[in-house]
Amino acid sequence: MQNRIEGVGLGLRSCHYQHILSHKPRVPWFEVMTDNYMGAGGQPHQYLEQIRQRYPVTFHGVGLSLGSAAPLNKEYLHRLKELVDIYQPAWVSEHLCWCASDEYNSHELLPLPYTELCARHLAERIDQVQNCLGQRLVVENLSSYVTFAESEMSEWEFVSLICQLADCDLLLDVNNVYVSATNHGFSAADYISGVPAKRVREIHLAGFEDQGDLLLDSHSRPVYDAVWDLYRQALERVGPVPTLIEWDNDIPGFEVLEAEAEKARAIAAQTAGEVSCAG
């Protein structure tokens, strides 16, 4: 199975299975939401098998709850390992968040206070996952709607510390940086300058919803202009990193996603040209 991840990929969504299989679009890779394939069998796996035969894939999860106080969900982790063995993704990514307490699950990506204690807790659990999967995990920065007075450092310092402690890679979600920077009043440019550039394995782009007094990470719209600008800055800092267009709500036709990917490709080509001329 080929596994070269480069250029601008798309998130694989079930409403596009038929289109992908019948039209075989020229998409360099797909990012697979692992949580959609935790089930033991059936059609989702039949489609994924066919798509995997034709395209490289990466895995992206939302349910591992890396930041929970409760022990890691062993059953979930083992199923993830099974899926990794079957589909052999180029890498596996998860969020620097928590989803569940010992009572309830929010199915939401929730933030932690940016403290050394929390960073160590996350790093320890990332290490457990890396040991189980036998590979480096790629962790993604969140968009968040709350901050805590208990935080001891900036979000990018928190993210950098975790990457260093766990020796893991980073999925830099540029839209999330923009959403959190706007909501919490920090500089998105400082964030981009502050992340460990060499660890950035992938970039995410998506659209948010503007509620006036809060930006919501809705993944329901085209990428905003301000986020395209930040993407340019990110590429200048980290170099030509594979990029993914995410769209999870009000999912449009496949051609709309392809057009967004084309925009990203043009920006990446332009940035690479400028960087090489300057160099």
Binding site: D35, M38, G39, A40, G41, G42, Q43, P44, Q46, G63, S68, A69, A70, N73, E75, Y76, W98, A100, S101, D102, E103, Y104, N105, S106, H107, E108, L110, L112, P113, L117, C118, H121, Y145, V146, T147, F148, A149, E150, T182, N183, H184, G185, Q211, G212, D213, L214, L216
Partner: protein
């Protein structure tokens, strides 16, 4: 400390309870900390309502989006998620609706929800194994007393006082335009997925009670006592349909599917 913070945070999201284990701050756009937290409550509710809409698409079509979404929201508010996978959320939605006053206007709804839950389970379950007839013949002759059947992991039974299968079917794209479903008559259904497609099959009373019995007691001898001579007809039929997918010997690792022998 972290555990207590997380417990309080989720209780705040689900039940609006206050958080004392951490101090939340107002955002930079002038929204208060409480309102920022509500963004999470809204998002969690929307996620769970969307999950129910995806698991119960026919019921949503049947009662209309507005009624269904209001019902789903009421259920979500009273049932915080305790499951790891979103696919597992909403198993008790049918029971909830049975006891919920406004649903009395649509008495067919709870059975339709039960049928859709069974369909959803079958859709995501493990693929069936082929039954190993040769190994079964040997085991049945030599160790009948220890023989236990393994039912297909995806199999569910639904009984209703009306043709809930017809109600489900008339919301599918292949149903002829303008034709009304005939719902008169009780029905007993087996829902399972022998291959790629989920099957909703009406069965007779004898088949239904055989499967009910097997779900509670999968032993061969008990089944023979229940069915008498009919076991010779009904058992092969259950295997042929894929309702029974294997067998095992009590106190033994051995199981008669083609993967394990």
């Amino acid at each position: 400390m972290l555990a207590e913070f997380q417990r309080q945070f989720l209780r705040a999201i689900y039940d609006g309870k206050p958080i004392s284990a951490a101090q939340l701050q107002a955002n930079a756009l002038g929204r208060s900390a409480e309102h920022c937290l509500m963004a999470y409550s809204d998002s969690v509710q929307a996620t769970l309502c969307k999950a129910l809409a995806e698991i119960y698409p026919v019921a949503r079509q049947f009662v209309g989006e507005r009624f269904f979404d209001a019902l789903a929201m009421r259920y979500v508010q009273q049932h915080p998620s305790e499951v790891t996978r979103l696919d597992d959320y909403g198993e008790t939605f049918s029971d909830f609706c049975t006891g919920f006053e406004p649903v009395q206007q649509v008495p067919h709804l709870p059975a339709l929800l039960a049928l859709e839950w069974a369909w959803h389970r079958a859709f995501h379950s493990a693929d069936s194994q082929a039954f190993d007839f040769a190994a079964f013949a040997v085991a049945a002759e030599q160790q009948a007393g220890r023989l236990r059947f393994v039912l297909s992991d995806q199999l569910s039974l639904v009984a209703a006082g009306f043709r809930v299968d017809q109600l489900w079917l008339c919301h599918q794209p292949q149903w002829p335009d303008g034709q009304l479903p005939d719902l008169e008559a009780p029905v007993q259904l087996v829902i399972h997925r022998p291959g790629r497609e989920v099957f909703i099959e009406p069965v007779d009373a004898e088949e239904f009670s055989m499967l009910e019995h097997l779900l509670a007691d999968p032993g061969l001898e008990g089944l023979c006592d229940l069915l008498g001579e009919n076991v010779a007809v009904l058992l092969p039929r259950a295997i042929e349909h894929g309702w029974i997918c294997g067998f095992e010997l009590e106190n033994d690792e051995y199981a008669g599917t083609d993967q394990s022998v």
